[in-house]
């Protein structure tokens, strides 16, 4: 089902890039409460992997999850409304940046607990496969997550039970401020090798390279089951979180940042398009995001009386806290 169209891949990275930039503006103006973990610089991974997926495949991401949700096909306007805590948001204003989910397009949710998505996606794909769907799943996580025991337990379950989950490690070099070299003994593909899971390392700044690697892995997974792992080497252009500017953390050498930013997935993919085609996509994306911001800001805030709506799927209501 791989989408080989370079224009569409460019549209995806450009959409994520501009979504993040507009979201950061809304953080600065106070419309997005609490800030975000920007995905700037890593767009090629979500875009490349999701280009290799079918609509009914499932994904789950991380605290840095906007790219995964958008690349899988969620509506940018509803996503922006979610960041602004509005009723029209994907999660009706109950989730925000770190929990954005859209089950209708197979997004089981951004997940704010590092390493949490691996086991959840494994269970979801296993269950759907048992019902006869030949879907696959993707669990996105950072380099920090490879030191979380539960993720490694999930590798074991997926490998043992032949569940086709693509584990995508977005190695941006840091877990908050902790460099990979100070945290990861052995290697990231080595983690997979321990469980007999095939692993590949790919240039995460090149959307087509990511797509091709994901596509090859997914074809194998769909045919014979069993997980695979991709370590996508990337660089986070901006701070860990938009709060970081306020506290001025000092952990990345300036020349490293300059070097990292020089390989921009948006430019790398953009250069593959004729100039007019690129300009056309840029204009189209701009339009989409202008409408998204307008939609978000014009949307109603949720009714405080409904603060605990959806707490129980069974219809149970919770006792109130007051008086």
């Amino acid at each position: 089902m791989t989408d080989a169209d370079p224009v569409r891949l460019y549209r995806a990275v450009r959409l994520i890039r501009r979504f993040e930039e507009r979201a950061i503006e809304l953080v600065r103006s106070g419309h997005v409460v609490g800030g975000i973990h920007p995905y700037l610089g890593q767009e090629g991974i979500a875009a490349g992997v999701c280009a290799a997926l079918r609509a009914d495949d499932v994904v789950a991401g991380t605290h840095r999850g906007h790219g995964h949700v958008l690349a899988k096909g969620a509506d940018p306007a509803r996503m922006m409304a979610e960041l602004c805590g509005r009723v029209t948001g994907l999660n009706a204003g109950r989730g925000g940046s770190m929990h954005a989910a859209d089950f209708a397009v197979g997004v089981l949710g951004a997940n704010a607990i590092v390493g949490a998505s691996g086991a959840i996606v494994t269970g979801a794909v296993w269950a759907r496969r048992r019902r006869g769907d030949d879907i696959v799943g993707v669990s996105f996580f950072g380099d920090g997550a490879v030191n979380e025991g539960m993720l490694l337990e999930a590798f074991n379950l997926a490998a043992l039970w032949r569940v086709p989950v693509l584990f995508v490690c977005e190695n941006n070099g840091y877990a908050t401020t902790m460099p990979v070299a100070g945290a990861v003994a052995g290697s990231i593909p080595g983690r997979a090798a321990a469980f007999g899971i095939p692993a590949a390392v790919v240039d995460g700044q090149d959307p087509e390279a990511v797509r091709d690697a994901a596509s090859a892995a997914i074809d194998r997974m769909r045919a014979c089951g069993g997980p695979e792992l991709i370590e996508a080497r990337t660089y986070r252009f901006d701070a860990h979180h938009t709060f970081e500017h306020a506290v001025r953390l000092d952990y990345r050498p300036p020349d490293e940042v300059t070097r990292g930013r020089s390989r921009d997935p948006v430019d790398i993919q953009g250069a593959r398009l004729p100039v007019e085609a690129r300009a056309g996509v840029d204009a189209e994306v701009e339009e989409v995001l202008t409408r998204a911001v307008e939609f978000a800001l014009a949307s109603a805030e949720p009714d405080p009386a409904d603060a605990l709506a959806h707490l129980y799927a069974s219809g149970l209501t919770a006792r109130t806290g007051g008086g």
Binding site: I113, A119, A309, A318
Partner: protein, 323 residues
């Protein structure tokens, strides 16, 4: 009438639900051969795919169940030891419980967590003897502690059918209880509905789980002196507050007996809620494990930490004397 043991009632409930609903499956350690004896015969009848042995990976298989539930299944996860719930508290509380609200109602997570042998079993000592139901009631996960075989059957069936996560604690002290049961009359017991085992006029004793049988024995001993009502909440969250208030409006006196630690336990919550709602004629009392208790190994020490019939008799004496 046939005698049915509490343990076999659990087996029967699982068998009936597996037979009734294809989306139900069991997951746990050594459940195929029924090491806990609760799943006896089920693998033979339903196959290893629906009675699924897991590696020792509690965190991953707990979240795997969450993922399977998100994909439309109704997993039942058996835990061999109550303290394993400490290991998977994060997976239950932070994921299974929170998903429906955080996604704005896009999903349900109907997982049952079954803990056969909760509380003290002779000789199992410090790391195998906890009874952590209050933790789940605190976070608002539906929490069930059946006392009798018929209730064990009926509450487990309701837990499996509930659209929310439910933890079912089967106290070790109740597993060998047998009762005359009309098998044809076994039926689901609604969650959140209490049961008065023995009506009385002077004092209401709220007893949790296996302590219902101790409370009934004490009430019987005291027949000539005090008329004791024995109230079994059956579900600790949601709690049947109306039924308890109704009982206390008649008796005016309250004693709670609960085999869990004193601070922040369910006994404290029961007393606080009733003091808010009902005018009692005497200060209420609770009989619990001590604060911060760790069950010591030697049998006499283990017993010294658990609530005893003597303590219950003394507490009843106090509330009778004080008002």
């Amino acid at each position: 009438m046939p005698r049915l043991s509490y343990r076999r009632a659990l087996t029967r409930a699982l068998a009936d639900e597996l037979a009734r609903d294809e989306s139900v499956f069991l997951l746990g350690e050594d459940i195929r051969v029924a090491a806990s004896n609760v799943t006896a015969g089920l693998a033979k009848r339903f196959g290893p795919d629906r009675v699924r042995d897991t590696p020792l990976s509690e965190q991953a298989f707990t979240s795997f169940a969450t993922g399977a539930a998100l994909a439309g299944m109704r997993p039942v996860v058996e835990f061999q030891i109550p303290s394993l719930l400490f290991l998977v508290f994060e997976q239950i509380v932070n994921h299974a419980h929170k998903f429906p609200l955080m996604t704005g109602g896009q999903c349900a997570v109907p997982v049952t967590y079954l803990v056969p042998g909760s509380g003290s079993r002779a000789g199992w000592a410090g790391q195998h003897s906890d009874h952590p139901y209050s933790l789940f009631a605190h976070v608002g996960v539906t929490t069930v502690v059946p006392a009798t075989p018929a209730d064990a059957y009926g509450l487990l069936v309701s837990a499996v059918r509930c659209d929310d996560p439910v933890v079912v604690f089967a106290p070790a002290g109740a597993l060998d209880v047998r009762a005359d049961v009309d098998l044809a009359a076994l039926a689901p017991v609604p969650l959140g509905r209490a049961r008065v085992h023995r009506p009385g006029d002077d004092v209401t004793v709220v007893a949790v789980g296996h302590l219902v049988h101790d409370a009934l024995a004490v009430a019987e001993e005291l027949t000539d002196q005090v008329s004791v009502e024995v109230f079994d909440p059956r579900t600790l969250y949601p709690f049947d507050w109306d039924a308890l208030a109704e009982s206390l409006r008649r008796t005016g006196r309250l004693v709670v007996v609960d085999d869990a630690n004193r601070s922040c336990g369910i006994a404290g919550e029961i007393i606080a809620t009733m003091v808010e709602r009902v005018r009692l004629v005497a200060p209420p009392r609770r009989v619990t494990r001590p604060d911060g208790a760790v069950l010591p190994f030697a049998p006499a020490l283990d017993r010294a930490v658990q609530p005893s019939r003597e303590q219950l008799r003394a507490a009843i004496g106090h509330v009778m004397k004080e008002g």
